[in-house]
């Protein structure tokens, strides 16, 4: 019997515990009380106000659901839409799952410790909701499942817990957008995510963040990948935020398991991002790759990467490239740790500016200086992500194309 009481006790002890890294957020400034929102049927979902729709589209949400296999939509603390359109995939609000499904206890707080810091503690003590998305053994999904965590209420601290499970031999693609309503200024988001990629399963998780200028964001996520499994984790953040700190971690626990992290971050003035990825390679044949592209446009970006090779016959690479365009700071911290003979690990890091030579080359093909600059920036931000379905690739391309607004 898993014991919510015991988890709560543990959480209470960590309520004052600051995170290991990142600026400390005073959570007392935020409200946690549930906010009521009506559940939306399919038609109501499609007739949301236009400015809201725009924000949602920017975060990768397709309200027509045409090319989506299912939707989870949470506004503030309430689930306002939740369904799966594909056989073999379950989409369930986590509160419902905790009440009705026995098996969830094998996953809830099993990878992330509830007493990691005050944010994990808050997510247990004041859990609002979150999603459980599971692909059943052997199920190969065609369309991605979309999830959206939306903030509408000024001053709210949204506490979310997500569990994602790709069962053996299944294939699951998820796009998740976090966004705020156009009028919202100040709020906080705490999101716990636990990923389970089972034997020979493939999971891609693409997260697009679209926050507001005075937002505090503290995601906490850990993944575990079994033998032959593949975990593809993409992260895109082009919009301002007050402070965002996350260090998602993946454990490759089976032979030949693979993890790849790609992140694209554009740092606006007044924004602080401390973002990284950490991958433990624990079994022979493990492969890991972390690729980060960051642009500072006056903001502060700390780009971390940590690869830990614990056995021989593993291969890992970290690539962290930054461009400083209009002031700001990029601090790249790539780390490699090899614990035995026979690991193969490498990294390349570079922080610089756009080469004048590239701008003039494009200008001699007829582009103005501004057009040339944005063409180069878009190129810099476009990374090839193998194994990503076309719909998700185009979502990323669209987000990158929209970066012009922020960058220029």
């Amino acid at each position: 019997m898993y014991d919510r009481e015991q988890l709560r006790e543990q959480a209470k002890k960590a309520l004052g515990k600051a995170a290991a890294i990142g600026p400390d957020v005073n959570l007392d400034e935020f409200e946690k009380a549930p906010v009521d929102h009506k559940y939306l049927d399919d038609n109501e979902l499609r007739s949301l106000p236009e400015d809201e729709q725009k924000r949602l589209i920017m975060a990768g949400l397709d309200l027509t659901e045409k090319e989506r296999g299912g939707t989870y939509f949470q506004k503030d603390t309430a689930v306002i839409h939740c369904k799966s359109k594909q056989a073999g995939v379950e989409v369930i609000p986590i509160k419902k799952a905790l009440q009705e499904l026995d098996w969830i206890r094998d996953y809830y707080w099993k990878l992330v410790s509830v007493d990691t810091d005050k944010y994990t503690a808050a997510a247990e003590l004041d859990l609002h909701d979150g999603y459980v998305i599971r692909s059943l053994p052997g199920a190969k999904t065609v369309y991605p499942i979309q999830a959206c965590l939306y903030l509408d209420k000024e001053g709210l601290q949204q506490n979310v817990h997500n569990i994602i499970i790709a069962e053996e031999d299944s294939e699951l693609h998820i796009i998740t957008g976090c966004s705020t309503s156009p009028h919202l200024k100040k709020a906080a988001h705490v999101g716990i995510s636990e990923f389970y990629v089972k034997k020979n399963a493939k999971l891609s998780f693409t997260m697009i963040h679209n926050w507001a200028e005075d937002m505090q964001v503290r995601p906490r996520s850990v993944a575990q990948v079994e033998e032959g499994g593949l975990f593809l984790n993409n992260y895109i953040c082009m919009k301002p935020v007050k402070s965002l700190q996350m260090y998602p971690t993946t454990h490759l626990i089976g032979n030949d398991a693979v993890a790849r992290f790609y992140s694209i971050i554009v740092g606006s003035p007044g924004s602080e991002y401390d973002v990284g990825g950490r991958i433990f390679l624990k079994k022979p044949g493990n492969r890991a790759e972390i690729v980060a592209r960051t642009i500072s446009n006056g903001g502060k970006i700390i780009a971390r990467g940590d690869l830990i090779g614990e056995v021989a016959e593993i291969k890992a690479h970290l690539e962290c490239k930054g461009l400083i365009l209009n002031g700001g700071v990029i601090h790249a911290i790539p780390e490699l740790r090899g614990y035995v003979d026979g690991v193969e690990m490498s990294h390349e890091a570079a922080v610089g500016k756009i080469a004048q030579e590239e701008i003039t080359y494009l200008m001699s093909r007829g582009l103005t200086e501004d057009e040339a600059t944005s063409t180069i920036v878009r190129g810099f931000l476009s990374v090839d992500i193998p194994g990503l379905p076309a719909q998700l690739k185009s979502e990323i391309d669209r987000a990158v194309a929209a970066s012009d607004e922020t960058v220029m």
Partner: protein
Amino acid sequence: MLLIEDLQVELAGKTILKHIDLEIKPGETHVLFGPNGSGKTSLLMTIMGYPQYKVTGGKIEFKGVDITHSPIDERARLGIGMSYQRPPTIHGLKTRQMVQICADTRGKQDVDVEQLARKVYFADFLERDVNAGFSGGEIKRSELLQLMAQDPDFMLFDEPESGVDLENIALVGNTIAALLQKECMPSKNKSMLQMKRERTKMGLIITHTGYILDYVTVDKGQVLYDGVLSCSSNPREILRCISEMGYEECVRCTIENN
């Protein structure tokens, strides 16, 4: 028409081009010879408008417009284009997109990139980042493909045949000839004379070897020596003179003859 009068250019505080006079009429193509470091690339870059090449005297006119101090992109849109010797790599920008850009800025959005690329056997490279890991000869073909999409009225070629293998040299030569409307073969329904009259494209080609002369009918040869245009004559004769006597002698003899 391109008209350069008494042009003087500084690079990094040093005078690298002196008293350059040059006139290229519509339909004409000139080749530019000169020893290493004599300023050939500098002249092309100055015509294209690279700001590090500082014009300290004289003027450049193109199509009757004084472009001496115009920015690069304005010159490009006016119809000047360049094939570079060592262009930079642009990561994340596909060759296909680059070719499309070339066409777009000249108002030819409906260009068939695929079909153009096939003409220079470059279709397989369209999905690669511009110049990323291209070999010497591949860079030349990529540059030519961009010019084909851009279709400028005046084209600058910086050593288009250097580093190109014997088989590809014909491809490069014939492509340049086509770009400059200088195909040696008369077409069925037009006489050579008629073709010549209808020519409008202009070219300036830097060459060390003169191989390009086998494919492109060139009107004039120019020799740049120590920043000075020292001779203007029949390109074949210049080439013979340089190979027999070397640049120094060649320049002296023609100066005396003039």
